[in-house]
């Protein structure tokens, strides 16, 4: 009885989560432009999607931006985590407070505050908003997530490990790169992944900091939602859904295999 209830409840919530997406996908195959009447099967919106230069360049921009910003954020963030780990409690909590600000602040506020900075930049130095401003903004909101992923790993590292490496003849540099870094690698990886995800999905902060030329995919989607929405947007949703599904499936299957292998041992 309780089991059945659980099952029904789960299915209802998943229905709520997936019904809108399924509707989007179904209508990406619609022959006509209508968003509420299905008149026949067609793939023409997919062709139109790939011919849409704006969407394609925005997709490219988004991917490059996510990659570059996450790599930089991971570098700075990992270094910062080690630095913060070495600090005394007082300065540590002061820095963490500032670092966490973009995380707890509403995104609109982070967005407009950075926009004010870049507007001042452009009036003082004559640099227009564009790739650089969005990149800076993305690194900034990615940093706390990297630090928060790396820091706990550092606390888990056994202090004697470093000493042992030194005793065995490592230079401090070697000990750091050969012993400590591998220990905290899982944290760095998950921080990087989180940064990529956040950067790919961000709309609000990019909206306030992007100029005329450099548009990310979410900003482009927003401008498309403000006019006659082409069904190629549905096609885009369908493809994104399939891509995300594939990535999640592959990563989960490898993780599950690994866990199973470990269990056998």
């Amino acid at each position: 009885m309780k089991k059945a209830f659980s099952k029904i409840y789960l299915s209802l919530v998943y229905l709520f989560l997936y019904a809108p997406i399924i509707v989007l996908i179904v209508f990406s195959f619609n022959e006509s432009k209508s968003k509420s009447h299905f008149s026949g099967f067609s793939l023409k919106w997919y062709i139109e999607l790939f011919e849409d230069e704006l969407i394609m360049t925005s997709l490219f921009n988004t991917l490059i931006l996510a990659l570059v910003s996450s790599v930089i954020a991971t570098l700075i963030g990992t270094m910062a985590a080690i630095g913060i780990y070495s600090m005394k409690k007082k300065s540590r909590s002061a820095i963490m407070w500032v670092t966490n600000l973009p995380m707890v602040n509403p995104e609109v506020v982070t967005g407009i505050s950075m926009m004010l900075l870049f507007v001042a930049f452009s009036s003082i130095f004559g640099i227009q908003q564009g790739f650089y401003s969005v990149l800076i903004a993305h690194i900034t909101f990615n940093l706390p997530y990297v630090i928060l992923n790396v820091l706990p790993k550092l606390y888990q590292v056994n202090n004697n490990l470093f000493e042992a490496a030194l005793d065995l003849g490592c230079t401090p540099r070697q000990a750091f790169f050969k012993v400590i870094i591998p220990e905290i690698m899982p944290g760095i990886f998950s921080g990087f992944l989180m940064a990529v995800t956040l950067s790919l999905d961000d709309f609000i902060i990019s909206y306030f900091t992007s100029g005329s030329d450099f548009q990310t995919l979410p900003v482009t989607i927003y401008s498309m939602l403000r006019k006659q929405v082409p069904p190629s947007l549905n096609a885009l949703s369908a493809l994104l859904f399939v891509a995300v599904l594939a990535i999640l499936l592959i990563s989960n299957i490898t993780a599950i295999r690994k866990e199973k292998a470990e269990m056998k041992r």
């Binding site: 409840y9 919530v13 809108p20 968003k35 690194i139 989607i221 994104l240 999640l248 599950i256």
Partner: protein
């Protein structure tokens, strides 16, 4: 391996790109066009208290719904075997990875006057006149719940999965009914997850402008819309916009401090 200097790039970065921008907001909020100190924008904010109230109200309703829906969800998932757990959490994360504008757009096509839900209900004869769904506060709340529900379920699940089943069984063996297990065991243990979830839903919901524009028909502006209008609208006024952002920021920070007062760790 102790090296404080490694934090320097980050500290410089945070100063330039976090602290200085906030200083800009403060500067614009308390100066007039000539750059002189003024408190006139504080007075301007007064007439928008209704907008603040509406934003917080809708965000609160959405958060409560998320909690009520998400709590049992997280519990049920956390009691499954680990393979099912993995699959189910993956299914929660999947919509989260889709772009949030596309998710909102999906609801537009569903809730329209001549949209899919109305068409369906009409075709099975339940209604004769289309229901009024889009451009209502209800539609905005649905949009918020839909977009932010995963942010409630995942932190709750992460906490609950650590609660040992034997603890619950022990309580039941000792004669606790399920409601009191919930009240005495589950709930106290899951407080950090609840706080985390509430913050992750409430903050974006209270400051959204896309959802209210797309599902609310720009009829009842929220605080996010107002900020957007003052920065990106026809008569940009950075002063009022900054003052509004400042007030929003303070409200959120106060709420957070209030929630976190007996739970320091969540902030870190």
């Amino acid at each position: 391996m102790k090296n404080r200097a490694l934090a320097i790039p980050h500290i410089v970065w945070a100063l330039v790109f976090i602290v200085i921008p906030i200083c800009f907001v403060l500067y614009f909020a308390f100066t007039d066009d000539s750059g002189a100190f003024t408190l006139m924008w504080v007075g301007q904010i007064g007439k928008y208290w209704g907008v603040f109230a509406r934003s917080l109200k809708l965000a609160l309703i959405a958060t409560v719904i998320c909690l009520l829906v998400g709590y049992p969800m997280a519990y049920i998932i956390s009691r499954c075997n680990w393979l099912t757990q993995r699959t189910l959490t993956m299914l929660i994360m999947l919509p989260m990875w889709m772009n949030f504008l596309l998710r909102t757009y999906a609801w537009m096509t569903l809730l329209e006057r001549n949209g899919i839900i109305n068409n369906f209900l009409e075709s099975i004869g339940l209604i004769s006149e289309p229901l009024k769904m889009i451009n209502t506060e209800g539609a905005v709340v649905i949009g918020m719940v839909y977009n932010f529900l995963p942010f409630m379920i995942l932190p709750l699940y992460n906490i609950m999965v650590k609660i040992d089943n034997s603890l619950i069984e022990a309580a039941q063996d000792l004669g606790c009914s399920f409601p009191s297990v919930l009240r005495r065991v589950l709930f106290p243990l899951s407080v950090p997850g609840i706080i985390n979830g509430i913050t992750m839903v409430f903050v974006p919901a209270a400051s959204t402008f896309v959802i209210s524009q797309k599902l609310g028909g720009a009829k009842n502006m929220l605080i996010g819309d107002l900020i957007d209008t003052y920065f990106m609208g026809g008569e940009p006024n950075f002063h009022v916009g900054s003052m509004l952002s400042l007030v929003l920021m303070l409200i959120i920070l106060i709420c957070m401090a209030f929630m976190n007062q007996d739970d320091e760790e969540v902030m870190l």
